[in-house]
Symmetry: C2
Subunit: 111 residues, 2 copies
């Protein structure tokens, strides 16, 4: 999943609460919803979005769906963040590549 989607998905406060609630370990929907300021269907909707973004995974145990964190889902966002700190290095690389006429990898400046 692209970092863009991860950002938009995690931007919503209650969806972030849902996400962070899974830090404590896997949990069924009802347990997640308890204590949150929104209804249970709302939590279901958030979980669907989180799942589609690869930030959460789901398994069934009888009648309940157990959701758990997918930390790998955060990887792309993390990489994007990291890329900001070696912009100077990257600029140097590009210059080096230009002069040496030899490509390694490119990065989008605008998405």
């Amino acid at each position: 999943m692209a970092y863009q989607e991860i950002l938009t998905v995690l931007a919503d406060p209650t969806r972030r609460q849902v996400f962070e609630r899974l830090r404590g370990g896997p949990s069924p929907v009802k347990a997640i919803a308890t204590g949150l300021p929104v209804s249970r269907p709302a939590v279901s909707q958030h979980l669907k979005v989180l799942k589609d973004a690869g930030l959460v995974e789901e398994r069934s145990e009888g009648v309940r769906r157990i959701y758990s964190l997918r930390r790998e889902g955060l990887a792309e966002l993390r990489d994007w963040l990291d890329s900001f700190w070696d912009d100077a290095l990257l600029a140097f690389k590009i210059e080096a590549e230009r002069t040496h006429r030899h490509n390694t990898r490119a990065r989008d400046v605008n998405e």
Copy 2:
């Protein structure tokens, strides 16, 4: 600034474009707006939001305002992301602290 704000601020696509455009170095507003699919006032509004979030800084050069990246503004988001990868380690620490009755640092589970 809190990571929550950084997420919501960077969630918008065109605002992210504005932000990423500054990777190439400081730039006046008009130059940023050129090539973007929105009007110049829209860019101004985005820049204000970015500035309030500490992701961008501004200086004046005559009649133009030069905006540049503030990479430190991303720090809190980065820390938050990192915190997901040592949850297990953190759990261990907490247990250790509990038994040894000796605090180091705490982290919020729910915002």
